[in-house]
């Protein structure tokens, strides 16, 4: 197996637990889209044209409320703002790629493809074939999302009872973030843990903000807290 194939399959493997968590959401989306009055084809195509879970859920809600098109578009834009953060975060690791590759990987850039990829890149640094990892993770999620949407459309409201499989999603994120905190160098550990906790607390406080704005606000607070603490820490070190 070539290096690029290996990176690709590593990406697919890293994505598997997230697939389990996402699958029920895809099915629920498919059923909701039908209920909102979208055709089978439109319901399915939204999963490949927009390809963004939360935005699709909110869109079906707005469609069923007969909201005007520009409101739906604006909502999609605001809900997906957080992807700019992912874009910024991954950018240093993808800067050597051609525009075609950048475009392909951007299309596949969801919460669930971002998480394992950035964890991998921060751990291993940039290698020649790193981008294949994100491609593997992204394509695995994309395929899973299309299939689960189709199944949801097919089954409609006859979706099996909640097996709590969606809990695999936060569990996978926990399994990814905790080791990052564990292995952080002593000087950065306090900043890292503070960033994590402050982001989490703000996410709770801002939970009721519309358009998932709470998520962005929380992430920004966490990033600022971490950066400031790291700065003051390294200054103390220089002065002492």
């Amino acid at each position: 197996m070539s290096e690029s194939q290996k990176a690709f399959w590593d990406g697919v493997k890293a994505e598997i637990p997230l697939l389990i968590g996402v699958f029920p959401f895809g099915m629920i989306y498919g059923a909701l889209a039908l209920n909102a009055g979208l055709s089978n084809l439109a319901s399915q195509m939204m999963s490949s044209i927009v390809f963004a879970g939360s935005a699709q859920f909110i869109t079906t809600q707005l469609v069923s409320e007969a909201a005007p098109g520009f409101v739906i578009i604006l909502t999609i834009a605001v809900v997906n703002l957080r992807h700019m953060l992912y874009s910024a975060s991954l950018a240093p690791y993808l800067k050597h790629l051609s525009t075609k590759w950048k475009a392909l990987l951007s299309y596949l850039l969801t919460d669930e493809a971002y998480a394992p990829s950035i964890i991998q890149y921060e751990k291993e640094g940039v290698k020649l074939h790193s981008h294949w990892f994100l491609l593997g993770a992204g394509l695995a999620l994309w395929t899973n999302w299309q299939i689960s949407t189709a199944l949801g459309i097919f089954l409609g409201t006859r979706i099996p009872n909640n097996l709590q499989l969606d809990f695999a999603l936060p569990l996978t994120f926990i399994a990814m973030v905790v080791p990052v905190l564990y292995v952080a160098p002593v000087l950065k550990k306090f900043a890292m843990i503070s960033a994590t906790l402050s982001a989490g607390i703000v996410a709770l406080l801002a939970y009721n903000l519309p358009f998932r704005l709470g998520l962005i606000l929380a992430a920004l607070v966490g990033i600022i807290v971490g950066t400031l603490l790291e700065k003051s820490n390294s200054q103390e070190k220089q002065n002492g």
Binding site: A88, P170, I174, G200, L215
Partner: protein, 107 residues
């Protein structure tokens, strides 16, 4: 509602544009050191902002009682992740914790 296809197409283009924006622009400008440092805090901050509501919010409200099984199972998973640093074990232990709590908790 206007033409849903047009709405989806524009919504999709905007989404793609935001995902593409900084990946495309990076390297075309000088990035300040502080900003580069700040980017390393994106993963823990974002992941934690995704995790906390899943554990603490139940049916739309904050629940920090012992009846919140997702919170308890999440804490078990955090402890497991800290000591094993193994993704699969963490997920399995967390799921098992939730199933057991649900099974025991049925009145």
């Amino acid at each position: 509602m206007d033409n849903i296809w047009l709405v989806m197409l524009i919504g999709g283009l905007i989404t793609f544009g935001m995902r593409f924006s900084l990946i495309y622009l990076f390297g075309k400008f000088e990035i300040p050191e502080t900003l580069k440092k700040a980017l390393h805090y994106v993963p823990p901050a974002v992941l934690s902002a995704l995790i906390f509501p899943e554990l603490f919010i139940q049916d739309g409200t904050l629940n920090i009682q012992l009846t919140n099984f997702r919170l308890l199972a999440g804490i078990v998973a955090i402890i497991t992740a800290w000591f094993t640093r193994n993704i699969m074990i963490t997920i399995l232990v967390g799921m098992a914790a939730l199933f057991i709590l649900n099974a025991l908790g049925v009145n």
